[in-house]
Amino acid sequence: MPETVLETRGLQAWYGESHVLHGIDLTVREGECVTLIGRNGAGRTTTLRAILGLTDRRAGSVRVRGQEAIRLPPHRIARLGLGYCPEERGVYRTLTTRENLTLLPRLGEGGLPLDEVLALFPNLAERADSYGGRLSGGEQQMLALGRILTTGARILLLDEITEGLAPVIVEALGRAVALLKGRGFTIVLVEQNFHFARHLADRHYVVEHGRIAAEIAAHEVAAREEEVGRLLGV
């Protein structure tokens, strides 16, 4: 079995005084693609943010390639090889597309070269010298994803990357994620769009009220369709 690259145990997190995560246990192995699914407000985004140390407070255990990261500041966690594509995109508005793409520091070997990223998202090539803030919503989404591919991070935390994208692009993204997976990237995908996710992922974690309510392997999805539907409130 491939090595476990990301593991959380009893991960709890707070925003100010509100306690949002109540103990999340995740195990992600090298080269796997897992999703976090669940209803709005279940705590999926927070899980990613807590792994990276971006919540106000957190507790429990986060191990990246075996190293305990719960006490590390965010930049040290990132250097363990995590790439993050946030929910609200976080494109730098005052930097150009190109600057956004080349900004992030190298975190490891095997980052995609700039041309390849631009080939993946032709819209970006066209707007390379526009300021990030001037891009359309979809273009920003592409940029947010594209830029972490350049860093060589091998573990990607992707939050709602299909959000607001044209169906053609969603399809393209699906191909991109599959491609990355093929190249051995490890991917944690937070998705609302289960149609998109189900064909990509090896396993699904269902998050509910800040806890893991169920874990479903890809091959079980068909059999447990009803349970999934209930958990997602479809």
Binding site: N40, S136, A166, P167, V168, F194, L232, V234
Partner: protein, 250 residues
């Protein structure tokens, strides 16, 4: 009364050398649900921004109910009844959910500059606010701080707030973006209900929403109209399929 609620003539927006919207002639029928779709970067949000004067048009005219509003300011346009929701959730985070809606309702009292009146004159709005919240399924969260809602519920709240203005013309920018499927259905029903007696122009990437709700669809590409018509016609247009829908949609 003319049949057209909103019309643009030769609407153009250039950002430096880049023309995001190019000579757009758009007509929105009164009481229709009209969708604006198109690939990312086609200029949909820019059109909204032009209509609500976040940007000033480089060229062209905007007519609302026959009146030229090309030169009017944002707030003035909103007061005419042309109201928008935002692509990224826009709420008043430190107000309670109820007060979010009440702020919008307050417009109709016309007392917003009356600093000498008692705040109790606003309680008449509470009932209406609760009705609107119930309608979008937020009634039980009425007293929560809006900032504490999840993303999806914030968007729901935003729609409730927009509805509170009872605007004859609604601009919805991706109303279901980021919502769980159950919420999407609820919003769909909601939009259909509120569309009675109103005109709606919406940008949306969720084709199921567009297919179910919209009478007319305008497909934009590179700032120009690529196709226009009912869903059945547009969705089978090969140009539209190539540029936007891709292979997955029948």
């Amino acid at each position: 009364m003319p049949d057209t609620a909103l019309e643009t003539r030769g609407l153009t927006k250039a950002f430096g050398g880049f023309r995001a919207v190019r000579g757009l002639d758009l007509k929105v029928r009164r009481h229709a649900i009209h969708a604006l779709i198109g690939p990312n970067g086609a200029g949909k949000t820019t059109v909204f921004n032009l209509l609500t004067k976040v940007h000033v048009p480089t060229e062209g005219q905007i007519l609302y109910e026959g009146a030229d509003i090309t030169r009017e300011a944002s707030a003035a346009i909103a007061r005419r009844g042309l109201v928008r929701s935002f692509q990224i959730s826009a709420i008043f985070p430190n107000l309670s959910v109820r007060d979010n809606v009440r702020v919008a309702l307050q417009r109709r009292l016309g007392t917003q500059f009356q600093f000498w009146r008692s705040g109790r004159t606003l309680t008449v709005l509470d009932e209406e606010a609760m009705r609107l919240l119930a309608e979008v399924g937020l009634a039980e969260a009425a007293d929560a701080r809006a900032a504490d809602l999840s993303y999806g519920r914030k968007r729901t709240l935003e729609i409730a707030t927009t509805l509170a203005l009872d605007p004859p013309f609604l601009l919805l920018d991706e109303p279901t973006q980021g919502m769980a499927i159950e919420d999407v259905d609820r919003i769909k029903r909601l939009i259909r209900r509120i569309a009675r007696g109103r005109t709606i122009l919406m940008v949306e990437h969720n084709m199921s929403v567009v297919a179910d709700l919209c009478d007319t669809i305008t497909v934009l590409q590179r700032g120009e109209i690529l196709a226009e018509g009912p869903y059945a016609a547009v969705s089978t247009d090969p140009a539209v399929r190539a540029a936007y829908l891709g292979g997955g949609h029948a």
